[in-house]
């Protein structure tokens, strides 16, 4: 019996950013010149660490820190973690981090002249349920400048880190907000060639996620790589 793991599905052309992106200065000296070498899927890429709340405690509310309430507009973000076959990825670990409402990170290397918030740290860790749903409460982050080019500003975003059921599903991305005028100007967002793939990084306002008298809700689904179902040719 052939017990070899199924290969991961190849990436759909244009739907992932390149490593060499002339418009994004930090890639210039960090992108490999040589193409990665394609390898057949082995148990190393098929398996993945079991990330559980027992070992990696969950935290689903960023609006309180150090004994006080963070400043800014409270929001709820919810969505599903799916694979490319549309199946939920139960237990997927989702880490998120972000700037505060003024666009300042709780980070020693962030020198942006915007107020720090002693009651906002800006990181959370949640786990997808059996249907792939995750959810957390936070403060809507602010836009902030960066030094990539003259008058460069990052669109409002929340960073996402995901662990799925296979090592090859590991990924980090960013969630953006609908209607942000900075999206059209952002080299990091626009490095993704395919317009539909870019739009999938933009959350949508969702009245079903919105909680009455409490917070606006946004929906953001994430799709991790799927297995290539194409059967192997048998002679």
């Amino acid at each position: 019996m052939n017990t070899d793991p199924l290969p991961w599905r190849p990436i759909m052309p244009g739907t992932q950013p390149p490593l060499d992106a002339p418009g994004y200065g930090s890639t210039h000296r960090r992108h490999p010149r040589q193409a990665p070498i394609r390898i057949a899927t082995t148990p190393t890429e098929a398996a993945a660490p079991r990330m559980t709340p027992a070992a990696y405690p969950a935290l689903d509310d960023m609006t309180r820190y150090a004994g006080g309430a963070a400043v800014g507009e409270r929001i709820i973000v919810a969505g599903r973690v799916l694979d490319e076959d549309g199946r939920p990825v139960p237990g997927a670990m989702v880490e998120v981090w972000q700037a505060n409402a003024a666009g300042r990170y709780h980070h020693e290397r962030d020198t942006h002249d915007a107020p720090e918030d002693p009651h906002f740290h800006g990181a959370a860790r949640v786990f997808a349920d059996a249907e792939g749903w995750y959810r957390y409460t936070t403060i809507r982050p602010g836009a902030y400048p960066w030094r990539n080019h003259h008058n460069a500003w990052r669109p409002v975003h929340i960073h996402y880190s995901l662990f799925g059921a296979g090592f090859a599903q590991r990924m980090i991305t960013q969630m953006y907000f609908p209607g942000d005028p900075l999206l059209a100007l952002d080299p990091i967002f626009n490095c993704i060639p395919d317009a539909a793939a870019r739009e999938r990084l933009v959350a949508r306002f969702d009245l079903d996620v919105t909680q009455p008298e409490f917070a606006l809700g946004y929906r953001f689904d994430i799709v991790l790589r799927g297995r290539d179902a194409t059967p192997m040719e048998t002679p």
């Binding site: 739907t15 930090s26 990665p36 070498i37 880190s161 980090i172 799709v223």
Partner: protein, 184 residues
Amino acid sequence: MPIATASQTAGPFWHLIDVPAWADLLRADGPNAGFTGGDRIVLTGRITDGDGAPCPDMLVEIWQADPEGSYEGAFHGFGRCATDPDGRFRFVTVKPGPVRGRGNATQAPHVAITLFARGLLTHLTTRLYFAGEALNATDPVLATVPAARRGTLLAQPTGKGEWRLDIRLQGPEGEDGETVFLDV
């Protein structure tokens, strides 16, 4: 069919999700507390860019099998480490065993490495192998790497149970010093 979500850079401030203790897979309060099998090893390295300058803001993760070469056993083979101002990382773990490959192949002991950072719009994946391991000669992944570049995947011993693998994100044009990255 849905299409996989696009990757984006981790940026310079990913340390908000860093837990420095995770670089020690054998930490007393971690998922391997009480695990006593295998040989303790220390994995170190330095990450540099195309100018040879250290990369001080990298998110380095490892994923490995247990000493018997299994991913299904009690050992939790995941670690995360931030590089220091000189671009260095350091993990404490156990030496993985040989892992089954495709078909009847056997893979030499190895540790998968994933890199995220400012300037990396998608992550990079590579592997650490142990120099001098007999199984390296027949490892199916090493076999797909041109012989002149294989050395970039071989950690060298620097002391008892200590191994070092430096990673060069971008090599000089026309030379073989750039680390081999894998498309998995």
